[in-house]
């Protein structure tokens, strides 16, 4: 199968390329344009005039709900939603049911993903058995089964000694650890940012310190163990500072933020609108601005969807009893492009935050358009606006606060492993 993408603006953050040219794909891989020449006989041609051609998006954190919560969503629906959003690779946290703490689970999820022939699936292995934070998983075996990174989902490892040993052992096998900093005690039963809104609405709050305390602890352990670590999500200004400082000190650490945290704040909760119930919580406007600055500086390396599809009932409850999360696969690209419109970053930088950077964090060879690389490509029209209607989502989750908003960017074609994916 040979594909020629004609006349698009090719943006490849890995090489820094940004120019209008044709992109050639053969046998599932990107072809050197100098070698393709006139004799390249494409089986199919895509006209990408006035469109952007970039690596397929890589989402560092998306819950597909399968296995374990198929009443909310399935891999089939969610991987189709990913493709609709221009996402060609998703990393799945280990908190499925059963938990991804055995090679069998890794194989099962990868195989099921491959069979669906939509986006690629990268299962994240559990750091501790059952995510209980007590004993280490067979990390080397998980790596052999195909895990490139390990994490503990939203279940923080409370025991600092176990945390330290998990980091040491993971580093032994050159595995990255994904950490979600949230102190169990300070989080309590909180559901919103501790601040003006929690005080006005009388909702149990999660102080900023719940994140900062846990992050400080994790950074100290990352420093002593030398493990390569990725902070899956940060939500406040102080965390941006902490990561900035850690990077300046040479720690081997990266960080991501969810797309919605870059656009929303606690103010949007209004009269208990449960669509804004997320974890970590939406924080103050100044936190949001600091996160944007972090993304623009590169202190925050990647933007993820933190996709969490829910059935309707999950959000039809009093705020604190509703389930946290936003179905974000289909808005990740648009929300990232919005940062360009808002003057936060340039278009190539924005694209790097959802392609090349997450690929490096996951240690996978996609996310670039260099010759020989796997041909995962996203083609989108940046100037086409779309009115978000959750009724049109491919995801089974309709829980998006962006319902009814006009967002920039429309995906026109997605290629995975050299094949145009239809949804």
């Amino acid at each position: 199968m040979k594909v020629k993408i004609k006349n698009g603006r090719v943006i490849d953050p890995a090489s820094g390329e940004d120019q209008i040219r044709d992109l050639f794909i053969a046998d599932g891989a990107i072809v050197d344009p100098h070698k393709a020449g006139h004799e390249f006989s494409a089986d199919s041609e895509i006209d990408a005039t006035d469109q952007i051609v970039c690596p397929g998006l890589i989402d560092l954190q998306a819950r597909l709900r399968e296995p374990g919560e198929e009443h909310k969503a399935s891999m089939q629906s969610e991987l189709a939603a990913a493709i609709k959003g221009g996402i060609t690779s998703v990393c799945v946290p280990p908190d499925t049911n059963p938990i991804i703490d055995t090679p069998a689970m890794v194989h099962m999820i990868r195989q099921r993903g491959r069979r669906l022939e939509k986006a690629r699936v990268y299962p994240m292995g559990a750091l501790t058995t059952g995510l209980r934070g007590e004993t280490l998983t067979d990390m080397a075996t998980l790596k052999e089964a195909g895990c490139t990174v390990l994490g503990n989902g939203d279940n923080i490892i409370e025991n600092t000694l176990v945390m330290r040993r998990a980091m040491q052992y993971a580093s032994t096998f050159n595995l990255s650890v994904f950490l979600t900093p949230l102190d169990h005690w300070l989080r309590g039963n909180g559901c919103v940012h501790e601040g003006e809104i929690s005080t006005r609405l009388g909702l149990p709050a999660i102080p900023e310190a719940a994140e900062v305390v846990a992050l400080a602890r994790d950074l100290a352990l990352i420093e002593t163990t030398g493990v390569r670590a990725h902070i899956t999500q940060i939500s406040c200004a102080r965390s941006v500072e902490k990561i900035r400082e850690a990077k300046a000190r040479g720690l081997n650490v990266t960080a991501a933020v969810s797309a919605h945290h870059l656009h929303l704040s606690e103010q949007d909760i209004g009269d208990f609108d449960t669509r804004y119930h997320v974890l970590p919580p939406l924080r103050s406007l100044s936190d949001r601005d600091a996160l944007r600055e972090g993304v623009s500086e590169g202190v925050i390396d990647a933007i993820c969807s933190d996709h969490q599809p829910h059935g309707l009932d999950a959000k039809l409850a009093p705020f604190s009893e509703s389930e946290p999360g936003i179905a974000g696969l289909e808005t990740l690209l648009s929300l990232t492009l919005q940062l360009v419109l808002d003057g936060v970053i340039s278009l190539p930088e924005a694209i790097s935050r959802v392609t090349f950077n997450p690929a490096c964090i996951l240690g996978i060879d996609v996310g670039r358009l260099s010759p020989g690389a796997p041909a995962d490509v996203c083609i989108f029209n940046p100037s086409l606006e779309q009115n978000i209607n959750v009724g049109d989502f491919y995801s089974q989750g309709r829980n998006s606060p962006f319902d009814g908003s006009n967002l920039a960017g429309q995906v026109t074609a997605v290629i995975v492993a050299g094949k145009v994916v239809t949804i």
């Binding site: 501790e194 003006e196 006005r200 609405l201 102080p207 009093p318 606060p401």
Partner: protein, 328 residues
Amino acid sequence: MPIEIKNSSSQPLQIDSAGRLLHFLAIEGLDRQRLLQLLDSAAQFISSDTNVRKSQGSLLAGHTVVNLFFEDSTRTRTTFEIAGKRLGASVINLNTSRLSTRKGETVLDTVRTLEAMDADIFVVRDNSSGTAHLIARHVPPHVHIINAGDGRHAHPTQAMLDMFTIRAHKGDISKLRFAIVGDILHSRVARSQIAALQILGAKEIRVVAPATLLPTEIEKLGVTALTDIDKGLEGVDVIMMLRLQLERMEGQLIPSSQEYFRCYGLNQDRLNHAAPDAVVMHPGPMNRGLEIASDVADSDRSLVLSQVTNGIAVRMAIMAELAGMNKE
């Protein structure tokens, strides 16, 4: 250009486009004029003239009021029941633990079932903040919701009866200084009182509690936060005590009831810091010897019993307003 978010709360829930009161969910969002009008209309229901009462006896005739209490309450539920009955409505009391509803039926299921039985007004109490709002968002337009307390968020009828009582005993609220003392963190009463006092233009509002019981950024609600009760009471005209729920304290928010009473309990000495004619209020039930000394609670400065009586009149006025009966 930032994204324009379509927020569900951009459309106020409590008031329709013609300015009519649809639900009574929170003090926030109501204006001074409406609060005063409700308080004035409550005054009509307080009259001891039996003729006035009789003529009101049919205001809500044919209406059904459902007291839907997911959380225990005797005082509030009873006053709502009396208020409904005095207006001629049929009143149904439903005390149901949400532990049982949570297993299968959701809050909304329960409400829809009752709605199908033709209820007109739901009086809702729940231990989660926002439950009354959630229900109000999902009922048809002819059904009205009164919030009788939602979690830590709001208890607007309590705040209204407090305002009524203050006006009756102390006159114009805009000339008075207030201190709200106790567990501000968990108190829906305090939040609604603060909102009502703000809207009615109180001269000064102070909140007094140890730091563990003061919510973050409480100053943004337009109050002064103090941890020293003697300073907090200095020169105030009205002291509004809150009930301390010991079972919530876990030995961490306050170490012991003895220490709390020593540091924050309202006794005669402390009362002397306030203005000479200051009055003391409490939403009840009182913990004597914990937040308030018995001699203060029973003194002629205490308005506690008058608050209860006024509660019925205020709730009658709110029900009548929601049923559209206050217009003539």
